[in-house]
Symmetry: C2
Subunit: 450 residues, 2 copies
């Protein structure tokens, strides 16, 4: 049968192709903050190819900010033997099985466990499996998840190390309760979308004039929350916060984000110094590993809320942030933890503890991915969008075949089947590092100058 496209029943994964994709964002200071002065937004990108007649591929990626993207690609490559030859139908019927296999590889586990480069690689691959599953089901991922049987969703969650806070019975109960009113919420989602907030005005590298202009634009675009990067210089932060407040008025929330810049004591002092200007939340005040530190910061800066999550490595740390009452806002990231399956666990934990989820996004393709998870959360778990917003940054969407669409400050629910993870082929060709057209020309230019 070699060479003949197969029906879905017999189809197998035939290749796991990886790409080191980098965009030269550091040249514009897009994305600059107190800890990341010059990011080159990048993706360690993976495509699962099959011999099925339908021609569907599973796409996924890890977001990085430049150097080390090759290490991330090497980590995805190390997972290839777990995937090639597997039954497409079995994989898509139970993405949790590949999640368990990859996390359970006893030798690879030593490189984490469940954290850092190896875990993000697992997340990229698991997300690619979900992309393939949703494409084959002819559904956008948010809709596939929202209409899935609660029992099946529970089977997709790894309860190891979180069972002291969330049992399978808890999860089933939450998902069954979440069914009430699903149709009405889905209609509302399709009509209004899911609220977003924008970080575009607030990067550290921008002038006050640019901050003012972009903040006014954000309000005009319908956003009710913006975010400023802080933490490099307190006087600058006070001035920028006043500038932003003057631009947006009192009715718009301004969150602030320190990107882990501070120790616990500094975080409390600095945030208190900005408190008169009514910041809505302080994000990443200190190390993402410091659960007890976040709890101390939260006690020290109330009523300013504490938010974190974009660098939180896995469900086990999120569990403790909730147990320790360390956060007011939980910020999932679609491409940091072990993919959709682990994010299901985290959304369930947040629902159990009654903490709103406001995802981290931006970067490359993070908006595209995470909107699906928030829409599922709304339809099947939280039941509300009150005090819930998805971060939005207007960067690099043009590289995706189904980019996010914003309307009146809301994410429009995507209707194209899949996880919105697919990059345009010409972008993969242009920005592959170091041999894509852009980088080949760029590196040749640098050699000429040198």
């Amino acid at each position: 049968m070699k060479g003949t496209p197969l029906t879905a029943t017999h189809a197998r994964i035939t290749a796991v192709d990886t790409y080191d994709i980098r965009f030269p964002t550091s040249r514009e200071l897009d994305g600059s903050d107190a800890m990341n002065p010059d990011p080159d937004y990048s993706a360690a990108y993976v495509v699962l190819r099959t011999d099925a007649a339908d021609g569907f591929e599973g796409h996924g990626f890890t977001f990085t900010i430049g150097r080390g993207n090759d290490v991330q690609v090497a980590a995805i490559d190390a997972l290839r033997p777990h995937l090639v030859g597997r039954s497409v139908q079995e994989l898509c019927a139970d993405p949790g099985s590949v999640n368990r296999d990859l996390i359970g590889d006893s030798q690879l586990r030593w490189l984490g466990p469940e954290k850092g480069v190896m875990h993000m690689a697992i997340g990229a691959v698991v997300n690619a499996v979900w992309d393939l599953a949703a494409k084959r089901a002819g559904q956008p991922l948010w809709r596939l998840l929202a209409h899935a049987e609660p029992e099946w969703l529970v089977s997709q969650v790894d309860f190891r190390y979180i069972a002291d806070a969330l049992t399978p019975e808890d999860a089933l109960h939450l998902l069954r309760e979440g069914r009430t009113g699903l149709a009405e919420r889905e209609a509302a989602l399709l009509e209004r979308g899911y609220p977003g907030y924008t970080t575009s005005p607030g990067w550290l590298g921008y002038s006050d004039e640019k901050l003012t202009r972009l903040a006014k634009q954000a309000v005009a675009d319908g956003f009710t929350q913006i975010k400023l990067k802080v933490g490099a210089d307190l006087d600058d932060d006070l001035r920028r916060m006043r500038t932003a407040r003057a631009a947006v008025g009192d009715g718009v929330r301004i969150a602030i984000d320190a990107n882990q810049r501070w120790n616990v004591g500094e975080a409390i002092e600095w945030t208190r110094a900005l408190a008169d200007l009514d910041p809505y939340w302080i994000e990443e005040p200190t190390s993402p590993d410091d659960i007890l530190g976040h709890a101390a910061v939260r006690r020290g800066v109330a009523p300013v809320k504490v938010a974190t999550g974009e660098h939180v490595q896995n469900r086990i740390v999120f569990k403790q942030l909730l147990q320790a009452e360390a956060i007011d806002v939980l910020q999932i990231d679609a491409a940091r933890v072990g993919g959709v399956n682990e994010n299901l666990a985290i959304l369930l934990l947040a629902a159990k503890f009654g903490v709103p989820v406001c995802p981290h996004a931006g970067g490359v393709g993070l908006c595209e991915l995470v909107q699906h998870l928030s829409m599922f959360d709304y339809l099947a778990l939280s039941g509300t969008t009150d005090d819930r917003v998805i971060e939005y940054v207007d960067h690099l969407h043009e590289h995706f075949t189904v980019p996010v669409v914003m309307r009146e400050g809301h994410y429009v629910a995507p209707l194209t089947p899949g996880f919105s993870a697919t990059m345009r082929p010409e972008s993969l060709t242009e920005y592959r590092y170091p041999d894509g057209a852009f980088w080949a020309a760029d590196l040749a230019g640098r050699e000429e100058v040198a």
Copy 2:
């Protein structure tokens, strides 16, 4: 001056050479436990070469258990641009500067931060710098550290994210106090060595007969503590624990090690079920990320002690384990965190909180490395070896140029300058994967069979 060996003042790092070294240990079930059934003990190995006339090289490595060792090598390779061209003299006078540079690379930081593959790579390189520094100083590392000025040692510690638990002033105070009696302790160390305990009898894959034989041998060899792997099957564990107790008698401590097998509730139940057989500590009862979980386990299993650390990712998690009173025994690992500098921070935290340090070792070369840190701890911080033991496993020492020497259950203090990290050149040649002589023959054999 190209090609001419340079004096130390002008010497530079000229190359960062990496090696993927793997030993086929899975074929003997050495090292098998409840989570790691078939490890191939491996090292992502790095050599810093210089153009100094003295010919010294800095050697370091990350320990892994097989698959993924290539990813770890790729991560070390990503650090090369930070090192090549640097002044050898400046580097060795201030290894903390390279530690700060590597941890502070804002783009690479995204891949952690300070955890997993990227952080272990930093640890390998930082340890190689210390190896070079100690060789140039003509001292074994333990002695270089023990005689270093307290102010300089404090300058080598990164207090970011731990200053709420340990300030530079705290550290200076501890190190100055530790000076009292240094000469007497050094004489005692040179005479008696540092106490070890052995895990060699207790691997899960061994028969009861082999367990009995090796446990009796351990006592005959002078060890006063052994360790058993547990967590796969409770009845087996009860039988093996009784077998071990019968072999060693009541005067020898038996620690047990679950290698993260359990959830919090299971850890408490299982350990209580073994408590009548008087286990000294329960090691890694659950996820190394679960600080609050360890605290719950400790409350639940007292008076059995709780020990962890070999998979604890960095000083920030150790800080919280101490703050939460979650552990009775802190187990540093020489090659998991960011190298000697971060281990200095962890040893200082343990001293501040009064918790004894009993290092994880075994693997490839972990005994060789970590003995230096415990000896420094004894001479300069803890001032005692009471209730302190370094793990010892009799594996793979023959591949090192200065292997550990055990005498009467004690590690003999090494006198050769350096960090004891140097592997024999013929081992590098034989076990390089996949092209070293052993693997080339092995892989060819497998192809023939297939």
